[in-house]
Symmetry: C2
Subunit: 327 residues, 2 copies
Amino acid sequence: MVTIHDVAKLAGVSVATVSRVMNDHARVAEKTKTRVERAINELNYAPSVLGRNLRTSKSSLLLVLIPSISNPFYTEIINGIEDTAIARGYNILLCETDSNPQRETIYFNLLRNRLAEGIISMDPSVNKNKLNELAESYPIIQCSEYDTESPIPYVTIDSEKAAYEAVTHLIELGHRKIALINSDERFLYARQRRNGYEQAMKQHGLAIREEWLYNAPQLKFAAGQEAISTLMQLEDKPTAIFAVSDIYAIGALKEIHRKGKKVPEDIALIGFDKISFSDMACPSLTTISQPMYEMGRISAEMIMDKLNGVNVSSKVLEHRLVCREST
Amino acid sequence: MVTIHDVAKLAGVSVATVSRVMNDHARVAEKTKTRVERAINELNYAPSVLGRNLRTSKSSLLLVLIPSISNPFYTEIINGIEDTAIARGYNILLCETDSNPQRETIYFNLLRNRLAEGIISMDPSVNKNKLNELAESYPIIQCSEYDTESPIPYVTIDSEKAAYEAVTHLIELGHRKIALINSDERFLYARQRRNGYEQAMKQHGLAIREEWLYNAPQLKFAAGQEAISTLMQLEDKPTAIFAVSDIYAIGALKEIHRKGKKVPEDIALIGFDKISFSDMACPSLTTISQPMYEMGRISAEMIMDKLNGVNVSSKVLEHRLVCREST
DNA sequence: GTGAAAGCGCTAACAC
DNA sequence: GTGTTAGCGCTTTCAC
């Protein structure tokens, strides 16, 4: 491995001068600079991030915590984070937590070790206490999912309102029996979307039947399919379904077809997120569009502001109802 | 930040002893050990990866290079890599290259800096010269896409044979006019799958018409849709299509429906990869299944073997034709 | 069994 | 403008 010493030797200068050239700090004579740069090129020198970090406590690395890489919702957010971070000289360390506390600890330690400078967390099941503790010393932003009790700034949408609008859309189409396919209600967004659903139902004087409320165990297509199997066995079947994720909606769509029913004629269906595949489903999915890329971009900007000592405050972005063929 | 010195002070020992306890190296007196461990817990000490790496040139970090995080094909491979790596005490630094040479350089430097110990590359458009040069000094594995000219070990499938089987499947169903939706043929897999397509056609005495060969500019649903727009304008329309990625096939499916045609009655369609969406499409997609998770697992094992000085050799895994409703 | 000290590659304060 | 040097947090010889 070629070090700063090798470069200094070849250029006939001190390591300090090489360092100065690398970081173009103090004024270095044009001639010396050229000589050093030539040496750098000749040796194909790349400064050790390790040595530099150890000295400066800066790593230009951001930790991004996601529960699973397999959900297109997250990948779109990550695109936003990554573009923004890279433009400002930062890189991303993508950490799939799998909602596993042990993995979380590993990643948290990277932060405490100064290997990373801050965290953008999208993990709903993250250890909140630890995260709050960490947030006292390090820049942390929550993206999408957040903790109402915590002072950690977040970027999100108004899930309750969005859910309210989704269900209202179904009601306006004439539906009275509307089921909800929800996630695990340990998650804030799941509770919020349920609230939105209930509000819309109540406000229109519609009954909410316990049996129309389905909580999926995992964020997978299969969960949407299973939800339909359950709901279609009911005596009093729903005529419309609000799924809190496109993933569930797509699974549901598949299963409805398999049962020989039609969307939206027999059952209307609305999803949430507007993942790219939602437009490829047939019929294409009516859904609530989240500004995923934008959420990523803003999270990244917020954390880099924090890194620079700028005060940041939480942001709630706009969602949008996208009417397509499934309603 | 609490350092090894703080622990040493509190425990009333030297930093060397703390280090020994941390790495349970030399024999440390049971009593001293307990004392040190108590201090570690009390201070909530986590050793600095930076300091350690600088000293040992080990980071327990693996670089994973992918062109884009948005493709479910890659995410499934990453799951395999991650599970395997974590089980062996390694972590993943996921690097989205966007096929951008500048980003690649950043990530390559992480390796040269000893911030990462090895690379698993899935990037087909990676700078091959640089990668080969790097491979002389560092453990590198190519996953899925590889370079025939290079000595770098790889894990992949037999794309040519798989394509041959896919097309043969269509021919056996009675199709004579078969189109190919291919990727950019700069990529090896694209050339291989084209070869497989041509072999199958020739062997069955079928004509290959230039106009049935479509090369998509990007790996997006839209590319599959555009392919259909083009193919359906032909005078001599194909009756079946082999798409080298499920992404193209799903886009194609959508566009075929939009044009009021039916799959498989009017046009049969076969994809490649068996991404999770492929089963949610309607009709569900016939496709070539790649053992993505397995490819990831094996890549990770290979690179960790290399890290331990074990010799590794390239592996070609089995694919499988999965017949579903689109053919 | 434990401590002292060198040194990994780098930056920055201080000297000249 | 440039060089000398201390020291970031850690591991590992070498003494004792």
